[in-house]
């Protein structure tokens, strides 16, 4: 009997009526993870503690108001977990055991969810294929010859393959939404500040945000409920009052006003993705959703902006890896310079080195004025352009990606390809907006296609409302083990 493929509400009822206990769920997850080891979606599986926690919960009364009680969850390996190895998929942190929990991990433990393990990713979240991982790249559950997307590739695969019902990812320039789109799951990047970044290993601090990755829209909102809130340890976290993100799900969407940026459906997007998106547009029109094409300036500058801002911030954030306080340290350095230079050469992979070199260069001397400051100004302009659209429209929509997941064998050395994968998702991070990717169908080669729904700041509940309508309307079978799979 498989339980983890069921909706969380159903699993919860089975737990409440004592037909199953948390240990059944943990055992099933561990079994599935073992059986699907070739997917490489976990870096560390915490078997011992998961079983111990399940046993402990088994002795407790199930909390009837907590749908997440006893549910197994996977955590991206750049979110620190006390006593549980956290590597950021880097040789630099291969041996790193955190001594505290991230804010989101504390919240997950408080709700009695069970952490099954830590998921694979691009090294320090730098990449869009998860192939820059120090460990083996995760495989797409819909076709194992294809990439998972990234950087939260392991989380997307673990949920997509139905090994766990829920996972956490992080999104700096599309790293939740793009792999979610490639693996046929739902991934939300919340508004900047919604979720505390305390304990998220920093990549680009003004762009990073943790978010939920799930099988469906409702469970995504449920997991977001669990992780939001002001945290004194992250002064950029928002003090907005708690709200129930599931509250608008199922409500009528007719009359809503939606904008499609012309750039999002331009020639950069593959035809079959555009076709699928256009089909959906017709469905929405029939539902009396008002849809207009709009021109939004600066969207085409997203990749350039990302390169300057994300790499600049990354070069500063990654300066902490010095071989002195934790992580990898080169053996027998002769002096302090040798310690830094060799530790970082041996500990970081190629993509990370490229980015911190470019970032350091762009922030050095007069370059800071020439490039970084100009980028901050364009970033401000881009946000203003987007906010202008939101004066007239409730949401902005488009495809999440320009292509579907592509071959694992494609060239990894092209330093620009990975940024272009994220061309449609980066503007959201620049402006700090909330956005979700949901599956809307499959390509001819049966690879999932995702749709991107972007909202005003702090409008996650509205995004979930709109997304849940589409999900219900399409009613796709998103389990790769069944019918739609291409063998």
């Amino acid at each position: 009997m498989r339980y983890l493929d069921k909706d969380i509400k159903e699993i919860h009822e089975l737990l409440v009526s004592k037909k199953i206990c948390p240990l059944d769920l943990v055992n099933e997850a561990l079994e599935l993870i073992e059986k699907n080891k070739d997917l490489n979606c976990f870096i560390t599986v915490d078997k011992e503690n998961a079983i111990e926690m399940a046993n402990r919960l088994g002795e407790m009364e199930v909390d009837k108001d907590n749908l997440l009680f006893g549910i197994p969850i996977a955590i991206k390996d750049n979110i620190v977990t006390k006593g549980l190895r956290t590597t950021c998929a880097s040789r630099m942190l291969d041996n790193f055991i955190p001594i505290y929990d991230a804010c989101v991990v504390e919240k997950i433990k408080e709700l009695n969810m069970i952490i099954i393990g830590k998921t694979n990713m691009d090294e320090f979240a730098m990449g869009s294929t998860s192939r820059t991982s120090y460990y083996k790249a995760p495989l797409n559950p819909w076709n194992k010859k294809m990439i998972s997307g990234g950087s939260s590739g392991g989380s997307a695969v673990a949920v997509g393959a139905r090994l766990v019902p829920l996972a956490l990812g992080s999104d700096t320039g599309g790293s939740i939404r793009q792999p979610a789109s490639y693996c046929g799951i739902v991934g939300m990047k919340p508004t900047y500040g919604r979720v505390s970044r305390f304990g998220l290993v920093a990549f680009a601090s003004s762009l990073d945000q943790i978010g939920p990755m799930t099988k469906n829209v409702y469970e995504n909102a449920l997991l977001l409920n669990a992780i939001v809130g002001r945290d004194e340890r992250d002064l950029t976290s928002s003090d907005k009052e708690k709200e129930d993100f599931t509250r608008l799900i199922g409500e009528d969407i007719s009359g809503m006003r939606v904008a499609i940026p012309t750039y999002f459906i331009s020639d950069i997007v593959e035809k079959e993705i555009k076709d699928k998106f256009n089909e959906l547009k017709e469905t929405l029109k029939k539902k009396n959703v008002i849809i207009d094409l709009v021109d939004i300036k600066y969207l085409e500058n997203a990749v350039t902006l990302y390169q300057i801002i994300a790499m600049g911030e990354a070069s500063s954030n990654l300066a902490r890896f010095d071989g002195i306080r934790y992580g990898y340290s080169t053996p027998n350095p002769t002096d302090i310079d040798q310690l830094y230079l060799k530790t970082r050469r041996e500990g970081f992979g190629n993509e990370v080195k490229r980015r911190i070199m470019v970032g350091s260069y762009l922030l050095s001397g007069e370059n800071a004025q020439l490039y970084y400051n100009k980028a901050l100004k364009i970033r401000d302009d881009m946000k203003k352009e987007l906010m202008k659209v939101f004066e007239k429209y409730d949401l902005i929509i488009g495809p999440t990606t320009t292509t579907t997941a592509y071959s694992l064998d494609s060239d990894l050395d092209n330093p620009l390809k990975s940024y272009m994968d994220d061309v449609l998702v980066i503007p959201v991070n620049m402006a700090g907006l909330p956005a979700i990717s949901i599956p809307i169908g499959f390509s001819n080669s049966k690879m999932p296609i995702g749709m991107h729904i972007i909202g005003k700041p702090f409008s996650e509940a509205t995004i979930y409302k709109f997304a849940s309508f589409i999900e219900k309307e399409l009613n796709l079978d998103l389990n790769p083990e069944r019918g739609d799979k291409d063998e």
Partner: protein
């Protein structure tokens, strides 16, 4: 325009980033970094709407933390992750030469 950075330019950025680059990696980075920087230079062509800039998406009206002693990490736990230490001291190699 050249299709690669000079060795000196790569050595300069590597030094800024505190990364050592071996001779066999040099050529690769000369080409790859140039490709990225060419992309970055496109920023010069962007016409600005106004002169305001943005460092982070939202500024939260946050107060400074009270100047009080809070929870502290235990030195013993911290040292578990330290590559080289001697008692409660973290060891580093020579900082100043002879």
């Amino acid at each position: 325009m050249a299709d690669r950075l000079t060795r000196e330019e790569v050595e300069h950025v590597a030094k800024l980033a505190r990364v050592e680059i071996s001779d066999d990696e040099m050529e690769k980075y000369q080409v790859e970094l140039k490709q990225i920087l060419d992309e970055v230079m496109k920023i010069n062509d962007v016409v600005l709407y106004d002169d305001e800039y943005m460092i982070a998406p939202w500024s939260v009206d946050s107060e400074l933390r009270k100047d009080e002693v809070g929870d502290m990490l235990d030195a013993k736990d911290v040292l578990e992750n330290v590559p080289r230490h001697s008692g409660n001291y973290i060891e580093v190699p020579v900082v100043l030469g002879e």
